[in-house]
Amino acid sequence: MRRWLYSFSSGFVGVIILLMVWWGTGWLLVNFSHNGQFRDFLPIPALKAMGRLVEDPVFWSSVKVSLARVGIGLMMAFIFGFSSGIVLGISRQIRRFTTLPMQFVRMISPLSWMPIAILFFPSFEYAIYFLILMASVWPIIHNTSQGIQDVEPSWIDMARIQGASKFQLLVKVLLPFTLPYMLTGLRLALGIAWIILVPAEYLGINSGLGYLINDARDTMEYDRLMALVISIGILGFCLDSIFRFLTQYFNWRKK
């Protein structure tokens, strides 16, 4: 309990410091550029806009669709990344073939897939899932495959000696061992998916947090923009906390 309180209060101090840095740099920016337009970036207008934002039903429906997009994109990244991660982890042969092309594809900026996503998919919604998938699948593949490779060889031997089938080996030894790795991969993937969302919502859709940010930019409503930035930060933090909790819960090493 005391440790929890301690970490909470230091987190609180951190947030205060962040607010002060925001206010300070914002103040410098406003005073040295002699332009009132930047005043809206400061904490007080932004927090006021935040108050208006949470009363806006459009905001909440945007939160819902954006979460759904990230959710679906991540789910696809998980299904694809997890299965190929296991295959890559198990087979050295396949690994040898795929390392080079995978490193190549991984290094392509997810947003440069945008034209391909537009041309290839029948709807913009699918194009957005695809962009999220392309950005977030890599840490899942990498971590899952690494987890499988890190399994103690003696454990595998032991299971084999006791007569475990290949399937049993996978389910009873390899997967439980890999679970924490995979959750870490998923957590990294979430961060990336969340980052990709805003530029991906440039495309022909009419809802979402990224869409609202783009709207605020088009109309120079910077207080609203900052309020949206904060809410995206808060939502991202909440999602990350869930994953962090799961990671700790399934981390058998600590237990």
Partner: protein, 392 residues
């Protein structure tokens, strides 16, 4: 659209797709799928949807899709996510003659509707004051780039495209490419000294940044085209009924906007139906504010120098005059752009004028929608001819 609607819709779309035999599908016309950028240039395509003019023509129309950059709009059009879009006039020129993409211009979307906006406190009043300055253009292949460079050259300056590290000389004006929404903030922060772009980003700069309009483009090239309505050549050739109906609806929307500018601003604004994210105040300025008291003689800079032209900030007239296509094509050859523009030398301008545009649909639509007297600057006795008036 929430997720459930989305799933329902995709399921029903899939179901319809499988049930319909190829025979019935061929008979049924396409659905109108409009793609647009958040600028007032899109107004006719949007008003035709808002007032259900497509529906009146017996067409199904999807809600128009908002895209934030020209490149993404062009790509989405290529992928046939959209079948009716507005593009800056020179864009279909390079699409058709450089990349060999079969597109057709079916009408002019609007007239004028752009301006050169500069910082209010820098003493920039004339083109010659742009020496040593940075000016942003929305697209290399744009009417904006063409007109801007004409003005710069006329003032005895040299348009250049230089990288950040190179020094800009006193007799040079440097051009940079920026997406329209990024222009006002870049002006505010001092990265650029001016920008030439479609509305409402000029009105936004005036209202939010106390920026000044150096010149309206419609005051330099009288009632010039800016965006044109573009469709796939395959559609235009294979489904003339559909094409005619689309053009009719758009032309009717243009007429309606001319008669109801304030209502148009209201419908498009975020307070109205929200087709554009801007406020009614900003859009009102675009559709209504073009007076000599604010912009004419005695003001610095003087944005309107030809009050006798009776031009408007944004006008509407659908007929794609060959003289204007020819003019912009010829000028484009002399305009500095980044990238490979050799294709401009390889095609014959007379051929382009005939080949790029479909004239019949729009002629018919104009005559059926009240005739030439309804639209901006169309001669009653010879509606299909005009002379290009250009005074920098």
């Amino acid at each position: 659209m929430n997720r459930r609607d989305f799933i329902k819709r995709s399921l029903s779309a899939a179901a319809v797709g499988t049930l319909m035999s190829p025979y019935t599908r061929a008979k049924q016309s396409e659905t109108v799928r409009v793609g647009y950028l958040p600028i007032t240039d899109a107004a006719p395509l949007l008003i035709a949807h808002a007032n259900e003019f497509y529906k009146d023509e017996g067409l199904n129309a999807e809600p128009p899709g908002l895209i934030r950059s020209w490149s993404a709009l062009v790509e989405s059009f290529l992928a046939r996510k959209f079948n009716v879009v507005h593009l800056l006039l020179p864009i279909p020129i390079w699409m058709r003659y450089k990349d060999k993409i079969p597109v057709k211009v079916v009408a002019w979307d609007h007239l004028n509707g752009s301006a050169l906006t500069v910082k209010g406190d820098q003493g920039i009043h004339e083109f010659k004051d742009l020496g040593g300055k940075q000016v942003a253009v929305p697209y290399w292949y744009s009417m904006h780039n063409v007109i801007l460079q004409m003005g710069i050259k006329k003032a005895g300056l040299k348009p250049v495209i230089k990288t950040h590290s190179e020094k800009i000389k006193k007799d040079e004006a440097n051009l940079v490419l920026l997406p329209p929404p990024e222009m006002p903030p870049a002006l505010a922060s001092g990265q650029i000294d001016g920008y030439i772009v479609a509305e409402p980003f000029n009105a936004l700069g005036e209202l939010k940044l106390k920026a000044r309009i150096l010149r309206f483009t419609g005051d330099m090239w009288k009632n010039h085209p800016c965006c044109v309505v573009v469709m796939h050549e395959k559609t235009v050739d294979s489904d003339p009924v559909f094409t005619q109906k689309v053009v009719n609806a758009v032309v009717r929307a243009q007429k309606w906007i001319l008669q109801n500018p304030a209502k148009t601003a209201g419908i498009l604004s975020k307070e109205g139906k929200g087709y554009l994210p801007m406020s009614k105040e900003t859009l009102d300025r675009v559709f209504l504010k073009y007076d000599t008291k604010t912009y004419g003689k005695g003001n610095l800079p003087q944005a309107i120098r030809h009050p006798e032209w009776n031009a408007s900030r944004i006008g509407f007239q659908p007929y794609p005059y060959p003289t204007a296509t020819r003019f912009i094509f010829d000028r484009l050859r002399e305009t500095l752009v980044q990238g490979d523009n050799r294709f401009l030398k390889q095609v014959n301008p007379d051929f382009v004028v005939k080949d790029l545009v479909s004239y019949d649909y729009v002629k018919k639509a104009v005559l059926e929608t009240g005739g030439p007297s309804v639209f901006t600057d169309m001669k009653i006795d010879s509606p299909w001819d005009r002379e290009e008036v250009v005074e920098i």
